[in-house]
C-alpha cells in the first residue's frame, strides 16, 4: 500500500491539494502532480501532512498556487484572488 502510494507520486514533500470529499465523507479526491487521485481517509490518515503556506510550490507542480515570489497578501497572486482552499505538503509516514 505504502509503496503503491509512492509509485503514484505521493513521495515525501509532494504538494497535494484536497479537492473534495466523496458524498458520504469518504474517500477523498486529491490533486497532485497534475492528476486526480482518490484515496480513503483511512489510508490518508497514516500520512503526515503539513499545511502549506499558500504561495509555495510552482507552476509545474500543477496543483499548486504560486505566482513566483509573491507575498501572502499580494493581490496579484492567483491564490489570493480565489477562495482559500486547503493545501497540504505530504510528509513522511508516522
Amino acid at each position: 500500500m505504502r509503496r503503491r502510494l509512492l509509485d503514484m507520486g505521493l513521495t515525501p514533500g509532494t504538494v497535494v491539494k484536497l479537492v473534495r470529499m466523496a458524498p458520504l465523507g469518504d474517500p477523498m479526491q486529491l490533486c497532485l502532480r497534475g492528476y486526480k487521485l482518490s484515496l480513503r481517509r483511512e489510508a490518508a490518515s497514516d500520512i503526515e501532512i503539513e499545511p502549506l503556506d499558500f504561495c509555495e510550490g510552482s507552476c509545474t507542480r500543477t496543483c499548486s498556487y504560486r505566482t513566483p515570489g509573491c507575498a501572502p497578501d499580494d493581490p496579484e497572486c492567483v491564490y489570493n484572488k480565489t477562495r482559500r482552499r486547503r493545501m497540504w505538503r505530504w510528509g513522511r509516514r508516522r
Binding site: 482518490s38 496543483c63 504560486r66
Partner: protein, 674 residues
C-alpha cells in the same frame, strides 16, 4: 526492412490509451474505455503493413514493482520474453506519473520509443510540452500522438521501426543522482555477473535489490555473502538519506522527473485549478456532496427506463413484427411447395418462433449496452467507484467493485474478467460471487416476454422490480459472505480519476455492432442448436416416431421426472422444466425452448404462457430465472477465476438452491396476496 520477426511491447500507465493505440496499430477492435485497467490480459496483434512485427498490448502498470496479477503479467513479459522494442505510452496530461514508469523502463536497456498520448487535450488545459527537449533529456525518441484522433501514429510507427531495426538502446540509461544513485551503482557492480546470467542489466538488478523485490531477487541466485553486502549498502543508504528504501527510490525518480518537467512543460495558467475545464465543472455536479449519489441512481434508473420502457419496447415490437412476417412468408412458401410437414415444423416452430422469440429482444439489449458503454467511455465509471466506495464498504466491497458489478448488467463473462483489476484476492472472490445477482442482458428476453404476456399493464415495473430484487439479494449475500467466509477488510482504495471525454460515436457504433454480431452468432449457433434439440425431443418419442401430442414425447417424459421439484414454486409443467434446463446453455434459450415445446399444443407462445402460469407462479418463475445458475459460459469463467476445487458444481448448486428458496417465498407470498 529486416525480415526477421520483431516483438514490440506496449507499456504505460493504466488508462493512458495503450489499447486505443493498439487498435490503431493493428487494426483490431479490442475493448477500450475511459476507466483505469480495462485490459487484463496480454493481447497480441500484427502491425499493419508490417506483418513481421508482433505488438503485445499489456495491462497498464504504474511501476515495475507489481502488486496485482495483471501487473505481474506486464512485468514478466518484459523480463522473460525480452521484446525487441518497448513502446512506452505516456498520458501527456499526467506527465509526471507517466515518466515515473518511463524511467524504470529505460533502466532495462531495451530499445524504446515514447509516445506522448492525448496531446490534443493539452491546449484545453493550457499546457504545452517541448518534445525536443524531452527527447534530449530522456535519450529516447519521443513522438507526440493522439491515438483517439489518429494523429501522429504513423510517425510513431516509422520512428519505432527505425529504432528497433537499428537496435538503438536508450542513450543514457543511467539517469538520476544522489545517495540512492550511489548505492545502486555499488550494488550494480557487485551483482554484474548474476544479472548477466539472467540477461538483465546490472542497473535494473540493483534497483530491484534496493527495493527488496521478493519476486525478482531469488532469480538472481545471489549467495549469502553477497546478499549481506547488498543489505549493508542499502542500510547505509537509508541512514544517509534519512528515509526508507522505497521512499528514497521513489523520491529519487520523482526528483529527477520534476527537474525534467520544469524543463519541458510550459503552463499557460500558473494555477491548474484555474484552468476552465469541462471536467471540473462536471465533477462539481456529479460528485456533489448531496446530489452525487442520487444522480447516480437517477442515471441508472433512466438507463433502464429507456432500455425497457417505451423506447426499448417500441423497437422490440417492431422487430418482432418483422420476424413474424418473415416466418409467415416462409411457412406459406414451404406449404405451397408441398414440403414434408416435419421439416416445415422444424423451420417454422423451431427456427422462427424459437430463435425468433429471442432475436426480437435484440434492440432492447443493444440499447442497454449502448447506454452502459457511454457511462464507461465518458469516465463516469471511475466517479461511480469514488462516490459508492463508502456504501460498498458496508457490504465488504470496495468502490472499485462497482465496475464489474455494473458490467454484469451486460454480460457476466466480461464482468467476471473485469474483477482482475481488483487489488486483493478477497475482493475478487467476493465480487465474482456477486456478479450473478446482476441480471445479465440474456435474461432480458425472458423477463420481457413473460412480463408482457402475464402483466401487460406493468411490464416496466416488473422488469425494474426484478433488477432491484437482484441488487437487494446481492447486498444480502454480500453481508452474509462478509460475516462468514470473507472476513477482513476490503482492500485499500487507490484510484485515478480520469478526465471526462466525449465518447466517440464511431467507437460506440462499433461496439454496438460488435454486440449485435455476437448476439446473432449466439442466436444461430448455440441457441439454434439447443432449440433444434428441444424441437427434436418434443417431436418424437423414444421409438423415434413422430408423436401426436408432445405430451407423449421424449422431452415430456424426461422433464416430468424432474418437474415435481418445481411444484412448490407453482410451475411444474414439463415444458417449463425443460426450458429451465436448456437455459443453462444460454439464458435466451429459455424462451426459444418454451416456444418450441408449446408450439403444437397451443396457438401461440403467449397463449401457452397464460395457460401454464398464474400471475403468482409467473412471478416465481421470473425470480427463479433471475437467480438460478448462471449460464455455462459464465460458470466456466467464474470457475477459472476462482480456481476453486469443484467450484463449477458448487456455483451451479448454490445458485439454483438459492433461487429455489427465494422463488418459493415469492410464490407463497404472491399466492396469498393475489
Amino acid at each position: 526492412m529486416g525480415q526477421e520477426t520483431l516483438t514490440f511491447a506496449l507499456m504505460g500507465n493504466q488508462n493512458s490509451g495503450k489499447t486505443t493505440l493498439f487498435n490503431r496499430l493493428t487494426g483490431s477492435e479490442q475493448q477500450v474505455s475511459n476507466y483505469p485497467g480495462v485490459t487484463v490480459e496480454r493481447i497480441e496483434g500484427k502491425l499493419r503493413q508490417h506483418s513481421e512485427c508482433t505488438i503485445v498490448d499489456l495491462p497498464g502498470i504504474y511501476s515495475l514493482s507489481p502488486y496485482s496479477p495483471e501487473e505481474i503479467i506486464s512485468r514478466n513479459f518484459l523480463l522473460e520474453e525480452k521484446p525487441d522494442l518497448i513502446l512506452n505510452i505516456v498520458d501527456a496530461t499526467s506527465l509526471e506519473r507517466g515518466l515515473y514508469l518511463t524511467l524504470q523502463l529505460i533502466e532495462l536497456d531495451i530499445p524504446m520509443t515514447l509516445a506522448l498520448n492525448m496531446i490534443d487535450e493539452m491546449p484545453a488545459l493550457g499546457r504545452k510540452i517541448d518534445v525536443d527537449k524531452l527527447e534530449d533529456v530522456l535519450g529516447i525518441p519521443v513522438v507526440p500522438i493522439s491515438a483517439s484522433q489518429n494523429e501522429g501514429v504513423s510517425e510513431f510507427v516509422r520512428v519505432s521501426l527505425e529504432t528497433a531495426n537499428h537496435k538503438r538502446k536508450p542513450k543514457n540509461p543511467d539517469l538520476c543522482s544522489g545517495t540512492v544513485h550511489r548505492a545502486i551503482h555499488s550494488i550494480a557492480s557487485l551483482v554484474e555477473d548474476h544479472a548477466q546470467d539472467i540477461r538483465v542489466t546490472p542497473r535494473f538488478a540493483a534497483t530491484k535489490l534496493v527495493e527488496g523485490d521478493e519476486l525478482f531477487i531469488p532469480k538472481l541466485k545471489l549467495n549469502k555473502n553477497e546478499l549481506e553486502t547488498v543489505d549493508h549498502i542499502v542500510l547505509e543508504m537509508e541512514r544517509e538519506s534519512g528515509t526508507d528504501r522505497w521512499a528514497a527510490l521513489a523520491d529519487m525518480r520523482y526528483e529527477f522527473i520534476s527537474m525534467v518537467e520544469k524543463k519541458v512543460l510550459v503552463c499557460e495558467y500558473p494555477n491548474y485549478e484555474e484552468v476552465p475545464t469541462f471536467s471540473r465543472a462536471l465533477d462539481r455536479v456529479l460528485l456533489h456532496k448531496y446530489f452525487g449519489i442520487p444522480i447516480f441512481f437517477l442515471i441508472m434508473g433512466v438507463i433502464f427506463w429507456i432500455a425497457f420502457g417505451p423506447l426499448g419496447n417500441f423497437l422490440s415490437e417492431g422487430f418482432a413484427d418483422l420476424i413474424g412476417l418473415a416466418g409467415d412468408a416462409v411457412g406459406r412458401g414451404m406449404e405451397s411447395l408441398g414440403m414434408n410437414p416435419i421439416i416445415q415444423s422444424a423451420i417454422v416452430d423451431g427456427l422462427f418462433s424459437g430463435v425468433g422469440a429471442v432475436v426480437e429482444f435484440l434492440p432492447m439489449i443493444l440499447v442497454l449496452f449502448f447506454l452502459l458503454s457511454i457511462l464507461e467511455d465518458s469516465g463516469y465509471m471511475a466517479r461511480v467507484a469514488f462516490i459508492m466506495d463508502r456504501l460498498l464498504r458496508h457490504i465488504g466491497l470496495s468502490g472499485s467493485s462497482i465496475v464489474p458489478l455494473l458490467l454484469g448488467f451486460g454480460c457476466s463473462v466480461p464482468a467476471v474478467m473485469a474483477t482482475r483489476t481488483l487489488p486483493s484476492k478477497r475482493d475478487r472472490y467476493l465480487t465474482t460471487l456477486l456478479i450473478p445477482f446482476m441480471s445479465c442482458s440474456a435474461k432480458v428476453p425472458v423477463y420481457g416476454l413473460v412480463a408482457r404476456t402475464l402483466f401487460p399493464q406493468y411490464v416496466t415495473l416488473v422488469v425494474l422490480g426484478l433488477y432491484i430484487l437482484g441488487m437487494v439479494l446481492c447486498v444480502v449475500t454480500a453481508l452474509l459472505l462478509k460475516r462468514t467466509v470473507f472476513k477482513g477488510e476490503p482492500s485499500p482504495f487507490i484510484l485515478e480519476l480520469p478526465l471526462y471525454r466525449f465518447p466517440s460515436l464511431l467507437s460506440l457504433g462499433k461496439l454496438v455492432w460488435r454486440h449485435a454480431k455476437e448476439f446473432f452468432h449466439r442466436a444461430f449457433t448455440i441457441i439454434l442448436l439447443v432449440t433444434m434439440i428441444i424441437w427434436f425431443l418434443q417431436s418424437f418419442n423414444f421409438q423415434f416416431f413422430p408423436v401426436a401430442s408432445p405430451d407423449e414425447s421424449m422431452l415430456a417424459t424426461l422433464a416430468r421426472t424432474i418437474s415435481p421439484i418445481f411444484s412448490p414454486l407453482g410451475f411444474n409443467h414439463w415444458a417449463v422444466t425443460s426450458a429451465l434446463i436448456a437455459g443453462f446453455t444460454a439464458k435466451e434459450v429459455v424462451i426459444s425452448a418454451l416456444s418450441v415445446a408449446t408450439a403444437s399444443s397451443y396457438p401461440s407462445l403467449s397463449a401457452a404462457l397464460t395457460q401454464i402460469f398464474t400471475p403468482a407462479s409467473g412471478l416465481a418463475f421470473l425470480v427463479f430465472i433471475l437467480l438460478y445458475t448462471p449460464c455455462a459460459a459464465a460458470v466456466t469463467v467464474m470457475h477459472r477465476e476462482l480456481k476453486l476445487k469443484g467450484g463449477f458444481a458448487l456455483i451451479v448448486l448454490y445458485q439454483t438452491t438459492f433461487a429455489w428458496v427465494i422463488s418459493l417465498l415469492v410464490y407463497q407470498l404472491a399466492s396469498l396476496i393475489m
